[in-house]
């Protein structure tokens, strides 16, 4: 897929193309609502940037910092064009504002850099030219004799300079240039450099404030008691013992369960154990377990046709005339996000307005969901975004903010912090959806792949989430949906949801006869966006199956892929990974597996090297090559690849959510295990040189690792593992 530009039709949220987007010029015209933090006398070309007369350069960061580095990379882009050291910029987490809505204000889909690349450069350049115009007017000289550097406008020949602050007020009166000059990459001082991240000092000294750290005068703390049965309700409750526990202020039911509110979280949590409650299992939970879900899918995949996501050629003929058919079943589990910081939010309700502090990936969705829950207009909900202790897509669904708002509404004028325990977090996640897949390949007499059919069954993320966004502006609903009812839209999305088949429907190997089909079935387990979304399961399946076909044709898996990829840009990335890994010549005792996958506009190839120890695979090294266009900060790109690899490897080696009797089995890190230091491979990342605009980086490192490791396991043992997590008996 091509790199995204703000001026084009859509942008990807978790892989789904949504109609919307604004032409760049709109960002510099009158905005309907006041610009954030507007102050008199300041130069404020748009919602992102403000330069005050007292020489503060303030940047509104409209993306959530969850480790991916936007707190560093976004100001770097503006600073480069503006002409100032990016560390001089004061970065503020932006409030909800219409200029940040393209079409909604959200962080996800690996879109921050590619959707902000153009607008932030222009923003810096517009401000720079207005400041220069102001200086030129003041000095009575032509503007082209001035330049901006280190926070000042300079006139070299007369050795005069003025700070941005000294020029701000008069700059604000200058005409706004429609086509500001953007720097050439050869002029970059900061973009493309491995800068140290600007939030690093706070994060190593314990000074960074995450949602869980928010502290307000008079704040109360709440612990929740929640129904373990999915979709269940409260049948009966007795809160008298909990209410008389030390420190407790009140206890009551909210939408998601029972809240116990106390002076400290510890008191609330201890008191929560005294809540007496009888749970109504509801309609979904009875008979719901992992085995019954699987049995339903095994049956459906044979009996139903589903809907075609993508097709090429004539798949029926391909199988009719095949010399040989290779078939395999692949299965992937529900997965938890397990952000290190459990979900939480703080809210203050004064009877008419609600103020919220939340570690969310979307301040706008916090507003929207609280608006729906409290029947309050979004304009009366003020949202502050804190640092996030991990996001991975979980915090794009801010149900935790609704919890806080509902508790705050019961205790007006008291700020209340709701903290989810790790158990709450593990059992009440919105999981990465599970899937059940049948892959079939039609081979001709020479072993060449003539046909590829991928049939999958599973639920639809967008169809589950759409009803929660009902109060968002109508422009968010894609063109092809008739009517406006979110429920109707959700129903219509079920088997058209691109997040189900992304990574499976693209046919990167150009197989002549191709089909990807999705059968919709939702057992009722809450699902959501999990780092790399559909790619997280489909890449495992497609890159393992292509590997099976390579081995069946008795060809080296790297060469087999390279031959089929032809001139596609995947080939360059694959070649680089293979070269750097010394493909075909692993060190003694090691076995190699390779995979290449495109997601979120970028192509990533990974070679995993494993050693079999006591019959179990240990991943010693991963070599990663990535084409993500131009990099703003190459070290942050490498860190994101390392991060995506460990995230995917953890899932591949260790994780899966089990359902039993309608409840999630796992609860904490003893049974929902994550990859630890001792199991973490050395990782080398190689970034392809590119002058194309930046493409996604947050998620693309994850999809290739599971198949790379699975392919290495096959090379080592001859066993093809088609289920995750990998279990070698």
């Amino acid at each position: 897929m091509s790199p995204m530009h703000v001026s084009r039709r859509g942008f990807l949220v978790g892989g789904a193309t949504v109609v919307g987007g604004l032409a760049l010029g709109v960002y510099f015209t009158q905005s309907k609502s006041p610009l954030p933090g507007a102050s008199s006398g300041a130069l404020q070309p748009n919602a992102w940037l403000q330069i005050t007369p007292d020489n503060q350069v303030v940047f509104q960061l409209d993306k959530a910092e969850m480790g991916q580095g936007v707190f560093t990379s976004m100001p770097t882009i503006v600073a480069e064009e503006l002409g100032i050291d990016p560390r001089e910029i004061r970065v503020e987490q932006a409030p909800v504002h219409e200029q940040f809505q393209d079409p909604i204000q959200i962080t996800g889909g690996s879109t921050s850099t590619n959707t902000r690349w153009d607008i932030l450069r222009r923003t810096g350049a517009v401000a720079r030219e207005m400041l220069i115009a102001a200086a030129a007017a003041k000095w009575g000289i032509p503007a082209d004799e001035c330049h901006a550097q280190q926070g000042r406008v300079h006139h070299k020949s007369s050795s005069r300079s003025l700070t941005f602050g000294e020029l701000a007020t008069s700059a604000a009166t200058m005409p706004m240039p429609e086509e500001p000059r953007l720097k050439q990459p050869s002029e970059y001082s900061y973009i493309g450099q491995p800068l140290r991240r600007f939030d690093g000092v706070d994060k190593v000294t314990g000074a960074a404030i995450y949602g869980l750290d928010v502290s307000l005068p008079g704040m109360l703390n709440a612990s929740l008691v929640r129904n373990p049965y999915i979709g269940g309700a409260i049948a009966q409750m007795d809160l008298s013992r909990a209410k008389s526990a030390p420190g407790v202020v009140d206890a009551f039911a909210i939408s998601s369960g029972i809240a116990v509110v106390a002076d400290t979280y510890w008191h609330a949590r201890e008191a929560a154990q005294l809540v007496e409650v009888e749970w109504d299992k509801g309609a979904i939970a009875p008979g719901l377990d992992s085995a019954s879900i699987r049995a339903a899918w095994v049956r459906m995949i044979r009996q139903e046709d589903g809907r075609v996501a993508h097709a090429a050629g004539n798949i029926q003929e391909a199988f009719e005339f095949a010399t040989d058919v290779h078939e395999a079943v692949y299965e992937t589990p529900y997965l938890a996000h397990a952000t290190m910081e459990p979900q939480n939010a703080t809210a203050l309700f004064n009877g008419e307005e609600c103020e919220v502090w939340a570690p969310s990936q979307s301040a706008q969705l916090v507003q929207t969901m609280i608006s729906q829950a409290l029947d309050l207009s979004p304009g009366r909900i003020r949202v502050h975004t804190t640092m996030l202790g991990g996001g991975f897509g979980r915090r794009a669904f801010p149900d935790f903010a609704v919890d806080a708002a509902e508790v705050a509404r019961m205790l007006p004028k008291h700020p209340v912090k709701v903290i989810w325990s790790r158990e709450d977090d593990t059992r009440h996640d919105r999981y990465r959806p599970a899937s059940y897949n049948v892959l079939r390949a039609a081979l001709d007499e020479t072993g060449m792949v003539q046909g590829w059919a991928h049939k999958m069954v599973g639920p639809s993320i967008l169809s589950q989430l759409l009803p929660y966004a009902a109060s968002l502006a109508p422009g968010w609903i894609p063109d092809w949906l008739a009517g406006g009812l979110a429920g109707t839209a959700a129903w219509m999305l079920e088997d058209r949801d691109p997040t189900t088949h992304e990574g499976a429907a693209e046919n990167p190997y150009g197989i002549a006869h191709f089909e990807a089909r999705h059968i919709y079935h939702d057992p009722g387990i809450p699902i959501g966006f999990w780092r790399s979304v559909g790619h997280s399961h489909n890449a495992f399946i497609t890159e393992s199956f292509i590997d099976e076909l390579a081995h069946k044709a008795e060809e080296d898996p790297y060469k087999f892929r390279r031959r089929l990829l032809g001139e596609r840009r995947h080939a360059q990335v694959l070649n680089l990974a293979a070269e750097k890994a010394g493909w075909g010549k692993p060190r003694s005792g090691l076995h190699q597996g390779i995979a290449v996958h495109e997601s979120f506009g970028s192509v990533v190839a990974e070679v995993a090297e494993i050693r079999m120890v006591g019959g179990k695979p240990e991943v010693e090294r991963v070599v990663c090559a990535v084409n993500c266009g131009r990099t703003v900060n190459p070290d942050l790109v490498k860190a994101q690849m390392e991060s995506g690899i460990i995230f995917g490897l953890s899932a591949a080696m260790k994780s899966g959510v089990q359902i039993r009797e309608g409840a999630v089995v796992e609860s904490n890190f003893h049974d929902y295990q994550l990859l630890r230091m001792a199991e973490a491979p050395d990782i080398e990342v190689y970034i392809l040189d590119s002058s194309a605009p930046p493409t996604g980086v947050g998620e693309p490192g994850t999809p290739p690792i599971a198949p790379a490791v699975g392919n290495a396991i096959f090379a080592a043992t001859g066993k093809r593992l088609r289920k995750l997590p990998f279990v070698l008996s």
Binding site: M66, G67, Q68, D85, R87, Q193, P194, L195, R196, R197, D199, G200, V201, K203, V204, T205, G206, A207, A208, I209, Y210, L212, D213, S215, P246, T264, Y265, W266, T339, M340, E341, P342, M387, L388, G389, G390, G391, F392, I419, R422, D635, L636, A639, E642, S643, G644, I645, I646, F647, S650, N668, F669, H670, L674, L675, R676, M677, A678, A680, P681
Partner: protein, 180 residues
């Protein structure tokens, strides 16, 4: 619940809390003392985010009742160094861009500093074993290992003998990588 008076040295200062002795040290630090650098991740000693030093030893504060620190020394992330005077481990972390989301890093740094105090030049195997109790969901394990080795170098130079740029988080020192 029994309220007791727990007297101990906290980040170098004599401190006294009137508190239910069964309160986990983690929550006493966060809610009674009011320092939030020590993090809650799991509450069952499995993730390491709550790691502090108890008289020099790394412990999981979510598993320790506050009554257990009576008469002892407790050190948190706020007590081992700050932006003006970073511990060599903090300096090494900064140089290598270790933190991503950063939520686990207080715990990682407390475990690493305790490791270096007892084993000044650990091997990769020793590091892996000592730090295996600290989960990093963002996956920065490789960077952490490298940063521990770099901290060994910085520690060998001695905090007061580091060149100016390495001793402080120097505004001129902008790029990833150590000061040689």
């Amino acid at each position: 619940m029994t309220t007791e008076t727990i007297s101990f040295v906290f980040n170098g200062k004599a401190t006294s809390l009137d508190i239910d002795g069964q309160t986990p040290l983690l929550w006493a630090i966060r809610e009674n003392i009011g320092l939030t650098g020590t993090k809650y991740g799991c509450g069952i000693g499995q993730c390491g985010a709550c790691t502090v030093h108890l008289s020099g030893t790394a412990v999981r504060s979510c598993q320790l009742p506050v009554s257990a620190v009576q008469g002892q020394q407790v050190t948190t992330i706020e007590g081992i160094g700050d932006s003006a005077h970073p511990h060599p481990v903090q300096q090494a972390w900064i140089e290598a861009n270790v933190p991503q989301c950063g939520y686990c890093q207080s715990g990682q740094i407390m475990t690493a500093t305790a490791l270096l105090a007892r084993s000044p030049n650990p091997s990769d195997a020793e590091i892996k074993q000592a730090m295996n109790g600290n989960i990093c969901r963002c996956g920065m394990y490789g960077r952490i290992r490298k940063a521990v080795h770099r901290a060994v170098e910085l520690q060998a130079i001695g905090r007061d003998k580091l060149p100016a740029a390495a001793r402080r988080f120097d505004p001129n020192d902008i790029l990833v990588g150590g000061v040689s």
